[in-house]
Structures are given as C-alpha cells and as structure tokens.
C-alpha cells in the first residue's frame, strides 16, 4: 500500500505537469499551480520532475503511511509534522510505515507539495494524473482527497543515492505586495492607452474569488476601447482577462481552454508560482517586460531544474 488519508485538509488533489492535447476539445490543462515547487519536490525524491504529486492548500491533510517511502515536502510552509515532530521541508526524508504526516497550518505561502519516490498509483486519464474538480476528471475519481481514501505507491524506495545532498534552500514568499511581470497581448489593442497605463501604474488587491481556475483582482477598472467582449478564442496559462467591469482575472491551471473576454497581457511563466503562493488581501502589481526576457527567464528556470536533476539523479 502507501498512504491512508485520516483527514483530507481543505483542498488536497493529485496534480502533475498537466493534461495536454485535449484543449481543442474544451478540456482544461490543470496541473500543479506552483510548478517550481512541484518540480523540486519530485527531483528531490528521484522522480521525473513531472510525476504526479499531492498539492495541498492552506491546511494540509493528515496521512498515515502503510509502507516505507522517501518523500519531500516543498512549496508554501504549511508546517509539516511527522509524528508530531517538525519535518524538514525541501529535503528528501524516509518515512516509515505507521508514521503520520500532518500539517499545523500555513505560515508562509499557501500551496504545498508532497512528492513520493516512485510516484503514486493513480491512473492516467487522457495522459495525465491531474485532477480537474469542475469536470470530475483525473486524479482520485476526479475529486479532492477525503478521510478514508487510500493511495498505493507505485515503486517506493527506502534508499536513494546522495541522500545527504537531497536538499535545497526553501522558497520564501512575499507577505505584502506581489509583483508580477507581464508580457502585453494578445488583445492589448482592445484597451485604451489610459487603460494600459493605469493597469501597470495602479496596484490592486487579490479578492476571495481565487481558486485553481483563476484569481480575481479588485482595483480601479481597466478601460476598454469597446465593451471588453471578443470572439471567443484560446486562453494561455497566466492570461489576464478583463471582463466588461474592468476588473482583471488571472487565468490559472484549471482555466477553461477558451474564453470571450479581452486579455490585456499574460503573466510570465516564472512568476506564476508567486500567484499560486499568494493570498486574498495581498496587494498585487503588474510590470511590463519583453517577450524575449520572459522566454529567457523561463529557459533559465528549466536549465536550473535540469542541473538539479543531473546533480541528484544522473
């Protein structure tokens, strides 16, 4: 076996890199909200960085291990405890059958990841283990983890090479203002010059309407040229759509594949984890960067992951 869920926490789901190849049929990609933490968790336990892991939100689950395995907990600090003792984060740890992993509450950030060496025995649906709650698709029967669930390990390990090196410094997330870098487009021409200027000049506040689908921001309305409606078109991860009321919504992992509101810009890939770790009430500000810079930063991030993988798992 693997783990038994004693308590599911607020929202704990199985997520991997995402479900690709089905957006043309209206299927959301899903996937880990904070891909950076998710990738690191997998690499620390010797997995391919895209292997399915658990994503937890604010209050983590309580899990009883029924089999030994090496795990790593990354992302927001939800205060992980193993049998009541502090469990170090960003580090590969051997957990024994019979031990209990629990979380005492969010101290920094809000989304955590637990990767299990060898992966979880979760069937792939359309090529992915990711859970899409809205459509009851993938993961554990298309839903969040609940008390009584059991998930088996696929290929658990009790030892890995370079165990002492399997740790990296923890990420720390801003508690006040979150600054997100944005590339303009695809529909920046649907906004007035004043609208675009104010979009970058004035900050906003993250509202409670913030889930895996999107993050709605309260701020002075961003001015459209027209009414903000466009012919429905494709939506990329991090797109900032501005409905007729002028209040932006950042489109996240469970976003619909298409939509009919004008999109002023797109949050750059390397900044998406910052949204995933932010909370309602935090201030949010956008700054414009070039596409070239955004792509260079993304490629650098991928190279860093590749280096970590080679260092630990080659």
């Amino acid at each position: 076996m693997g783990i038994v869920v004693e308590n599911g926490g607020i929202l704990t789901t199985v997520q991997d890199e995402g479900r690709f190849g089905y957006q043309a049929y209206g299927v959301s990609t899903s996937g880990a909200m904070d891909s950076h933490s998710f990738h690191i968790a997998n690499l620390l336990v010797g997995n391919p960085m895209t292997e399915g892991a658990l994503e937890m939100t604010f209050i983590g689950p309580k899990l009883r291990f029924t089999r030994d395995n090496i795990i790593a907990v990354t992302g927001g600090d939800l205060t992980p405890m193993l049998d009541g003792e502090t469990l170090p984060m960003y580090q590969a740890v051997l957990v024994k059958a019979g031990q209990n992993l629990s979380f005492a509450g969010a101290r920094n950030g809000c989304r955590g990841y637990i990767a299990f060496s060898g992966g979880l025995d979760i069937p792939e649906v359309m090529g992915s283990k990711s859970t899409l709650l809205r459509n009851k698709l993938g993961g554990l029967d298309g839903r969040k983890l609940e008390k009584g669930d059991e998930i088996a390990f696929l290929a658990p390990k009790t030892e890995l090479t370079r165990m002492g090196e399997r740790k990296v410094p923890a990420n720390v997330y801003p508690q006040k203002e979150v600054v997100l870098r944005v590339v303009l487009g695809p529909q920046d021409d649907e906004f007035t010059e004043k609208g675009i200027r104010s979009f970058f000049w004035n900050s906003g506040v993250i509202t409670n309407e913030f889930d895996r689908m999107g993050c709605r921001i309260e701020r002075d309305p961003v001015e459209h040229r027209g009414d903000g409606n466009i012919n429905t078109d494709g939506i990329s991860l991090g797109s900032i759509q501005v409905p007729p009321n002028g209040k932006p919504i950042i489109m996240l992992s469970d976003r619909q594949s298409t939509g009919g509101y004008a999109k002023i810009g797109t949050v750059i890939s390397v900044d998406l984890p910052k949204i995933a770790q932010s909370q309602p009430g935090q201030r949010i500000r956008f700054i414009e960067v070039s596409l070239e810079l955004a792509q260079s930063l993304y490629i650098r991030e991928l190279n860093q992951m590749k280096e970590l993988d080679e260092k630990l798992n080659a």
Binding site: F20, G21, Y22, Q23, A24, Y25, G26, V27, V125, M126, N135, L137, V183, L184, G185, P186, Q187, N231, T232, D233, G234, I235, S236, L237, G238, S239, Q256, S257, T258, G259, K263, T266, V267, I268, S269, L291, E292, A294, Q295, Y298, I299, L302
Partner: protein, 248 residues
Amino acid sequence: MDVKFLIAGDRAVSVEFGKEICLEINEKVRMLEEELKDNPIDGVIEVVPTYCALIVHYHPEVVRYDDLVEALKVSLGSMSSLETKKKIVKEVPIFYGGETGPDLEYCAQLEQISVEELIRRHSEHEYYVYMLGFAPGHPYMARFEEPFSFKRREEPRVKIPARSVVVQQNLSDLIPFEQPCGWNIIGSTPLDICNYDKEEPFLLNAGEWVKHVPITKAEYDQIRRDVEKGTYQVKTYSLEKTAGERRG
C-alpha cells in the same frame, strides 16, 4: 491573407485570421490546424481552434517566438484547402419536448410558429461545429438558414441536465455535463457528448456538421440503452458542400 500573430505570453501565440464569425474565416483556422497536424513544427505542444483564431501552445526552449512565427508563415503558405469540398455530417438523434425539453412549446410561441415547424427548422438544416470549449466536448454550433429570432432566457437556470439540447437564434449547443444555462432547452439526445471512459471520449470535432434527427421517447430509451452498453454507432457520412458553403 490578413493574418495576425498575437503574443499570448511566453508559451503561446494566437494566429488570428479576422474578426468576423463566419465559415470562410473558420475554415482557414481549420486549414492551419490540419496543416500543423500533417507537418508539425518542432516544439509545438498543441493547438486550439476557435471562431477566428488558432492558438498555438509551444515550448520556447525548443522554438523561440521569432522562429515559430517564421515556421507558421511557411505553414500558412503551404496549407491547402483539402477538405473544403466535402463536409462530414454526424447524425444526432433528439427527443424533442417532454420533460427533457421543457421549453419547446414556449420557443414555438416566441417564434409564433407551430412546434412541428420549430422541430423542422432545427432538424432540417445541418449545424456547423465552429469550435469546442467551455466544458469537455461542448460544441459551439450554428446553422446558416432560417435562424430563430428568440435569444436567451431572461432568467438563466442554475442547473440543466447533461445531454440537453439548447438553442437561441441560429445557435444550438449540446450540453455534455450538468451546468448552469441561460438558453432554452428544446430536447435531449441519448448520445454521450463526452464520456471519459471511452477511447474516443468526444462525440464531435471542430469543423464537423451535425444533423439533428427527431426520435420518439421509445427510440430515445432504446438508443440510450445501446449507448450505455457501448453498442451504438453514431451515423456519420460526408456530403458535397453547397456553393455558398464552398466559398472558403
């Protein structure tokens, strides 16, 4: 061809063929989609066709933006109108009215025609699947003759059942899963619009045509049983396009 490349972040670009929702522009979207299927560009993850644009999701570590746009221009130059003479039609049986089509009579009243005439208009002309979106397998369909004049309901419903057939003006959708909806429901189909358990989960593809076929409640129940057993075959055939439909 007036084509625009719109930057959709560091991992996607939208290729826009125009601003008008019409067959001519949508067929260009579909032609580029087909071209990229036949001659893929390295680094492209997937493409999503919509009314007027094809969004291309890609790996910038494999192909940077400028190189991708150059490659897409080559694709645009070599894409052919291979499919433009035939149209693929799928028959979708519908039980109109009854408990699962509660707005049928109301729609006929709004249109000031008989229920029979409303069913004729809905089932005689083929509907074109412009795109899929909103929910898995959910088609955005339109017909090009005899549009209804009524629009959405004033009060949207909080929940309507899966497999409902909903209409407004020249549009008709098939609802894959229970959802809120502001359109009028005129019937129900026994077919699954999306079923994750099947090897081919989706009933329809963008660019196909749908012919609604009126059936009785008894036929509906029989087809539903066959669908659940996995023995039902969706009737599919190809037709020559009319002159108007060939313009693209």
